[in-house]
């Protein structure tokens, strides 16, 4: 049995509006990069694969088998992990469990989404059904509307401003220009963010992330094997996963995501670390308000102080806790099933000191916060070099 599990290889495609290739080819790109990154590893060393994707975007039914075949991973076991936007974090937890149980030694976790396969109307219709289809979708609820309702409640309760929300986008756009794999390569000024059109009040165009195509891959290995594969394993120190009511009517608070608080608590406990110990973090900024809530839910600041944290540029490189220095979902793009794996890749590169222009000096401990749906599933994973 392996007591420790490491990430030994990471890969990611560019995140784009429309990739122009099939899902099997998209996954191959990320897989190839992860295998080359791991170095001393061949396809036959992979004991199992977990394919992570949100349902109803693909024409291909049961894509896991098809993708495993295309990557040359048959006849090893493969299956699909699904938790909408948190799919590849959940896949990572499953891979970790496989290795800890002794069932497998080396596991590939591949996340992907090709959102351009649907028309915009089809995509909207699926987003709509991401809420409770019995009691919320019939009124025209949609992802941005839910987060707008969280934003309104947060602003009312804590005095958070539209300017503070816009500052999250300004930060993400700055760092996405330093990430060649990010979808948006242009800096957005505070004025431009603040004057963009209102999508659903108080959220504006630049408060929202965009649909994207992309794939991510990580190779996980047990301690004995990991040390033979690489000199720079990045260890999974603690995992947390939680769920919450899908319907807003079942939530006690609307200005926080309870699943993130619970997942964070589990991860900190298992890693025996505190929020202060985190050197660099990736959080699920599907909307600007989501990043502000994440600061608070993860304990990077006191409840209600999230707006002040971005005001003080404390989440920039050089600040107290750099967050989303790869551009985040807001500017890197959000191909649902690939997002968690992309966040993990960013943290792994940071902890290895290979993050280039966005390297946080001396980063030893990193955190990934990945949310599924409207705060339905929350995953927090802590890594250490």
């Amino acid at each position: 049995m392996n007591n420790r599990v490491a990430v030994v290889g990471v890969g990611q495609t560019a995140f784009t509006r429309s990739c122009g290739v099939s899902i099997r080819e998209l996954c191959f790109e990320a897989f190839k990069e992860a295998m080359e990154d791991a170095g001393n590893l061949s396809t036959k060393d992979i004991d199992a694969s977990i394919i992570c994707s949100a349902p109803e975007y693909d024409k291909q039914r049961s894509p896991s088998g098809l993708i495993a075949e295309y990557l040359g991973l048959t006849p090893k076991p493969t299956f699909l992990a699904e938790a909408v936007c948190a799919s590849s974090s959940v896949g990572t937890r499953i891979g970790w469990s496989f290795i800890r149980s002794g069932l497998h030694q080396v596991v590939a976790v591949i996340g992907f989404q090709k959102m351009s396969e649907l028309t915009s109307a089809e995509s909207q219709e699926r987003m709509l059904r991401g809420g409770d289809i019995m009691w919320e979708s019939p009124f025209g609820a949609m992802m941005p509307a839910y987060y707008a309702m969280f934003a309104r409640a947060h602003m009312n309760q804590y005095g958070t401003t539209e300017e503070q929300l816009a500052k999250v986008k300004v930060k993400s756009s700055k760092y996405s220009t330093m990430n060649p794999k990010a979808m948006y390569q242009k800096e957005i000024t505070l004025e431009k963010a603040l004057t963009s059109r209102v999508i659903t009040s108080p959220l504006k165009l630049f408060d929202c992330c965009a649909n994207a195509d992309g794939a991510s891959c990580m190779i996980l290995a047990g301690e004995d094997v990991a040390k033979k594969i690489t000199d720079t394993p990045v260890w999974i120190k603690g995992l947390g996963l939680a769920s919450a009511s899908m319907s807003l009517t079942g939530r006690k608070t609307i200005s926080s995501l309870s699943c993130a608080v619970e997942a964070g608590k589990q991860a900190y406990e298992r890693a025996d670390l505190k929020p202060d110990d985190i050197d660099v973090a990736e959080v699920h900024d599907c909307f600007t308000i989501a990043e502000i809530m994440a600061y608070e839910d993860l304990g990077f600041c006191e409840r209600g102080e999230g707006g002040k944290l971005i005001d003080g540029e404390e989440t920039y490189i050089g600040g107290r806790i750099p967050v989303n220095v790869d551009g985040g979902l807001l500017s890197k793009g959000h191909p649902i099933g690939a997002t968690g794996g992309s966040q993990i890749r960013t943290i792994v590169l940071q902890l290895r000191g290979e993050a280039g222009k966005t390297q946080v000096d001396g980063a030893e401990t990193g955190l990934v916060h990945n949310i599924g749906g409207i705060g339905l599933y929350g995953s927090v994973i802590i890594f250490r070099r």
Binding site: A121, E122, Q124, E125, M127, L128, R129, D132, I133, M134, W135, E136, S137, P138, F139, G140, A141, M142, P144, A145, A148, M149, F150, R152, A153, N156, R197, V198, I199, T200, S201, P202, L203, S247, L248, T249, G250, I254
Partner: protein
């Protein structure tokens, strides 16, 4: 048509709480109450989380409540027509409702914490829904 006529567009027609729509047509917003343990459910459901009983009775709600949060959508998913305001309110019985704010309520009148009233509203094509009005 049963529950299939509830809301602007419905995605589900078959449910054990289809009678909710009958109550709505009679002008009543009804919750369910577990006959075994007394827990009140809104949105209504027949299956009790606490005692696993599926024996419930219908209890009319006053509809009076306070606004918790809202958003006015300028873009709508396929099949809906923007703009419209979505709102979450807490009713005086301690349960919450997610629905639309009536178009009668002007934007500058909407304030978190304001008193609201949940009322049944008939739509075209024999559809029925509920919405929040200013109380």
């Amino acid at each position: 048509m049963g529950f299939g006529k509830f809301g602007e567009i419905s995605y589900i027609a078959e449910t054990k709480i289809a009678d909710f729509v009958k109550h709505l047509e009679e002008g009543e917003i009804a919750a369910t109450k577990c006959k075994a343990c007394g827990r009140l459910y809104f949105p209504p459901r027949v299956d009790c989380i606490d005692c696993l009983s599926s024996d419930v009775e219908w209890i009319p709600l006053s509809g009076r409540g306070k606004l918790i949060t809202y958003t006015t959508a300028n873009f709508a998913p396929a099949g809906f027509e923007a703009p419209y305001t979505l709102a979450l309110a807490e009713l005086e019985e301690g349960v919450r409702v997610f629905t639309r704010m009536s178009k009668d309520v002007k934007q500058d009148e909407i304030e978190l914490g304001m008193n609201v009233k949940l009322v049944p509203v008939r739509l075209d094509d024999e559809r029925i829904t509920y919405e929040l009005k200013k109380a």
